[in-house]
Symmetry: C2
Subunit: 180 residues, 2 copies
DNA sequence: TCCATCGTTTAGAATAAATTAAACGTTCTG
DNA sequence: CAGAACGTTTAATTTATTCTAAACGATGGA
């Protein structure tokens, strides 16, 4: 064992920078900063970490750590590890990104898209059900649409629906997973 | 022209619901609520709208409308329309989603990914540059990594880098655009 | 030129989100 | 059984974001 086992402090400060960069990345994607910081930390920590270690390393309360760990776990981005003779919960990063993508992120995305798709369908049936009247405009809020405009509306709703379907298909298919 | 030109109020309230749903969707994707509301409004409005119309329809100030319109324009999600004899700026929705995706969203995503990729590279060179020492631990903050752990770190950084590259390739390639 | 009408900027207020300390329930240990 | 060590929940605070009103510069008539 002549060659060595202690990394210099420079590497540790580099890891800190990595952690902050992870936080900035997730934050810029609208996911909050803690998520990226926690995952990045565990990604660059070869041994499992206990909740308190995580909290200390990130300089946040145990409560925050608890929440972020739960979030990451629900995305399959973290795996819980039990260490015999230790009551604490240990976590390590799931390093297989396609698992995180397939099991964690994609389902979440699909769920969000689904509610959008529902609204599109509702609007489509509302549009086709909308009775056209010639007179009796009851308020200023009412608006006139020509026949051509109504046709355009229908066209747009159809386009939106087809986009939605294709997006869902992309998320469902293994195609994207294969690439990532 | 016996058949008619005035949609009932029910359609207009449906449009309002569509607008709110759009807002909720973009909000759930971390983009803020106004973006989705504004785009949805213009998407379901066949004629171009002036800034103030948008503000009134969404019940927000002209300042907010101005900001959100600029944002959407930068994504190529809105097109500016000039109406002769009218000083105001009119906007209409870009209904070709692949343009929005290719010109507006993808470049933004790539830019965000790029800064993450930069950090990965920096960490890789820091890791390989990290000198191993046997003694002279200077502070509690220093940590021991075994040779195996350092190898694992390198492996993980490489994995992250390759994921990053593939993600960038997916965003760059026409593949995704073809599907959407 | 002067006034009215735009769209934008900005500083401050309102709103939403993240974070924490403290209380709580559980589980292990002595 | 009592106490300590966990992780979670909650209510309150802090922080960040979003939104607005007012001021501003620019542009186009009168």
């Amino acid at each position: 064992m002549e060659s060595a086992t202690l990394t210099t402090r420079s590497w540790l400060s580099e890891r800190r920078r990595f952690v902050e960069a992870g936080g900035n990345t997730t934050h810029s994607f609208g996911l909050g900063r803690m998520i990226g910081r926690a995952y990045a930390l565990l990604y660059l920590t070869p041994e499992p970490m206990a909740l308190e270690d995580i909290a200390l390393s990130l300089s946040v309360s145990k409560a925050s750590a608890s929440i972020v760990v739960r979030q990451l776990s629900s995305w399959h981005a973290l795996r819980q590890v039990w260490i015999p003779g230790d009551r604490r919960d240990y976590y390590e990063a799931e390093t297989n990104f396609s698992i995180i993508l397939k099991e964690g992120i994609m389902p979440g995305l699909r769920k969000k898209l689904q509610s959008a798709g529902l609204q599109i369908e509702r609007s489509m049936s509302a549009e086709s059900g909308a009775v056209s009247l010639d007179c009796s405009r009851t308020s200023e809020d009412d608006r006139i649409f020509t026949r051509e405009q109504r046709a355009e509306l229908r066209r747009r709703l159809k386009t939106a629906q087809s986009l939605h379907r294709r997006a869902d298909r992309v998320l469902t298919s293994k195609l994207l997973s294969r690439f990532l």
